[in-house]
Subunit: 339 residues, 2 copies
C-alpha cells in the first residue's frame, strides 16, 4: 500500500512495484541491484511496473539496512580559500565516480569542532576528507574508535599515523628559495600565514631553513592570515621596519598578490625590477597577465584524486594502514622574479 508523505502525495515503494509487477518485493529489490539472481523475464516485468509507477529505490532505507551511507563528509573552512572551488568540485566528482556523495560541513572556529564531530557520528558517513580543521591525537583517535577513515588534505598530525595528502611543501619552497638566490637576491623577507596553520608554519620554516643553507640567517618574518589585505599590510610593515627588500617569500599566492599590489600601487615599485615576490599554490589569479606570479602550483586534481583513492581504499579495507602521500608541486617561473 502506498503511503503518503508530508505533502500528501503517495510514495512509491518496492511493495507497490511488486504488486503491479506480480512478483515479490524481494524480486523488485534484486532487479534493481546489478548482478543478483533474477531472470530476464522478472526484471523486465519489474522495470515496466517501476517505470509506470515512477519508482526509485529509497537510498535512506538502503543505507539503514546495508550499514553503508555512501556519503563522505568533507570539512571545509568558511574562510574563503581561493583553492577551494576547484578542489571541492574535483573531490565531489571523483567521489561521484565511485558512487559516493559529499555531505558538506563548514568549520571556522576550533570550538565548533566538537559540535561538528557530534553531527558526523550521527550521519553515519563512510569516511571524511578534511580540508580544514586542525586535528590532534584526540580527534584522530575518535575517528579510529568510530571506525571512520579520515584523510587530511594539506595538513598533518605530528607523530600520529593518519592518512594525508600533501603537496611537497619542502621541495616547493626550496625550489623557490633557490631560484631567488640564484637570480641574485640577497635581502630576504618572509611573509608567513598564521601560526595556527600547520601549512603556514611548514612553509615558513622550510623557507628559513633553505635560506640558512645559502648562508642567509636572521631573515625577518612578518605574519598575516593568508589574505590579500594581510599581504599588503605585511609589506607596509616591512617597508617601515626594514626598508625595501630584494625578495619576498609569501606563504601563499593571495598574500603574494597583496604584497605586489602594495609595492606597485602605493610604493611605485617595479616588480620584478625592484622587488621579487614568490607565492605558493598556483591559484587562478596567479596566472593573470597582470601578475604572472612565480609560484609553486599544487596539482589539485591529482591531490583530490589521491585523497579520494586513499579514502575509498580504507572504506573497503578498514585494516589498510595509514598512508601519507606527498605530491610534487610544479615550479612556475613567472614574471615576479628576475630571470
Amino acid at each position: 500500500m502506498a503511503t503518503r508523505n508530508s505533502q500528501g502525495k503517495k510514495r512509491v515503494t518496492s511493495y507497490d512495484v511488486a504488486r503491479v509487477a506480480g512478483v515479490s518485493q524481494s524480486a523488485v529489490s534484486r532487479a534493481f541491484r546489478p548482478g543478483l539472481s533474477v531472470s530476464a523475464k522478472t526484471r523486465e516485468k519489474v522495470m515496466r511496473a517501476a517505470k509506470k509507477l515512477g519508482y526509485r529505490p529509497n537510498a535512506i532505507a538502503r543505507m539503514l539496512i546495508t550499514q553503508r551511507s555512501g556519503m563522505v563528509a568533507v570539512i571545509m573552512s568558511s574562510v574563503a580559500n581561493h583553492a577551494y572551488p576547484e578542489l571541492l568540485t574535483r573531490i565531489t566528482e571523483h567521489l561521484a565516480a565511485r558512487g559516493a556523495k559529499v555531505l558538506l560541513f563548514t568549520l571556522d572556529a576550533a570550538d565548533q569542532l566538537e559540535n561538528l564531530l557530534e553531527q558526523l557520528w550521527t550521519y553515519q558517513v563512510d569516511g571524511v576528507i578534511a580540508l580544514a580543521a586542525h586535528f590532534d591525537h584526540e580527534e584522530i583517535e575518535q575517528f579510529e574508535a568510530h571506525n571512520i577513515p579520515v584523510v587530511l588534505y594539506n595538513r598533518q598530525v605530528p607523530d600520529h599515523p593518519v592518512n594525508t595528502v600533501n603537496v611537497d611543501h619542502s621541495q616547493g619552497v626550496r625550489q623557490l628559495v633557490d631560484l631567488l638566490v640564484n637570480t641574485g637576491n640577497r635581502k630576504f623577507i618572509v611573509f608567513s600565514g598564521p601560526t595556527h596553520s600547520d601549512v603556514a608554519n611548514d612553509r615558513r620554516e622550510f623557507a628559513l631553513d633553505q635560506l640558512r643553507q645559502h648562508g642567509f640567517t636572521d631573515v625577518p618574518v612578518f605574519y598575516g592570515d593568508y589574505s590579500y589585505d594581510s599581504g599588503r599590510r605585511c609589506f607596509e610593515e616591512c617597508m617601515e621596519q626594514h626598508g625595501a627588500p630584494d625578495a619576498v617569500i609569501c606563504s601563499n599566492d593571495t598574500m603574494a598578490i597583496g604584497c605586489i599590489d602594495e609595492a606597485r600601487v602605493h610604493y611605485g615599485m617595479n616588480v620584478p625590477g625592484d622587488l621579487s615576490v614568490v607565492g605558493f599554490d598556483g591559484i587562478t589569479a596567479a596566472f593573470w597577465s597582470g601578475y604572472e606570479l612565480t609560484t609553486v602550483r599544487q596539482p589539485v586534481n591529482q591531490m583530490a584524486r589521491a585523497a579520494v583513492d586513499i579514502l575509498m581504499e580504507r572504506i573497503e579495507h578498514p585494516d589498510a594502514p595509514p598512508e601519507k602521500r606527498v605530491l610534487a608541486g610544479a615550479l612556475i617561473k613567472g614574471k615576479t622574479t628576475r630571470a
Copy 2:
C-alpha cells in the same frame, strides 16, 4: 543486542542504552528528542548510560521513519565560479543553523542533468538549491511531481512559477551604463557571457537596452565564457575589428579583469585613462588595489540567506506559492572608470 558493523566493531543502538539505563527503548528515543515527555529522572538515567556507551542517535534511521532526510541538495557547476566559495559556505552555514545539511552535486554538461536528477530522487533530499544547471518547465515539473521544493539562484525559468533569488541585474546594469554615459564615454562595447547562460543574456540585453535609452544603438557585442582568458580574447578581437572603445561593459568581473589586463599589458593602455571597464559580481579580486574595478557587488550573504529562507519555508509549508526575490546589488565606483 549490539550488532557489529563492517569493521567488526559494535554499533551502539538505543536498545543498548535502554538496557543499561533500565528503561524502555522508547524512553531513550524521547530523552534525545527535545520537548518530549520524559521525566528528569529518566532523562538523567538515559544520558548517563548513553555517555557510558558512547551512543549517538542514528540519523539514517531517523530519516527513514520521519520521512525527512534533513538534507538539501546543492547543485553547483564544476566550472570554477569565483563567487562559489563564499556562496557555498554561506548557504551551508545558514542551512546548518536550521538543522539541515548540504548534499553536494556537481554538474557541468547538460546531459548529466538527467542522471543527477535520478540520484536526487533516491536520496530523498528535502529540497534543492540550484546554483548551476539550466532548468526548463520539464525539470521543474519533475520537482513538483516529487514534491521537492527548489530554489534557483541567479537563474530563472521563463513563464513558469518557481522560487528564485536573483540580484537585480536590470538595475545593476542600468546603474553601470548610466555611470559610463554620464562620465563621457561614447563608444561602447559589450562583452557577454555565453548565450546558454540566462544571466549572461539578461545582463547583455539590459545593457544594450539601457544604452539604447541613451541613444547608443548598434553597440557591438563579443561573446566569451565568463573566463579571464575569454575577457582577454574579447578585447583582442574588439581591437582588431573596431579599434579602441571608450568603455567596455562585461558580463562579469572575471572577464572585466581579463579585459583590463589585456588592455594594460598587451596594448599599453591606461585604465581608466584610455579605457573604462565595468564588470558585475563583486568578486574579491575586483577589490584588489591593482584593479579596484567598477562593478555591482552581489549581496552574496543576503542572497544565500534568502535562498535558504525560501527553501525552508516551502519545506515546512509545501503549499506556499512560488516566490521570486530580487535583491539590489551595490554599485561600486572603482578606479576603472573615469570620475
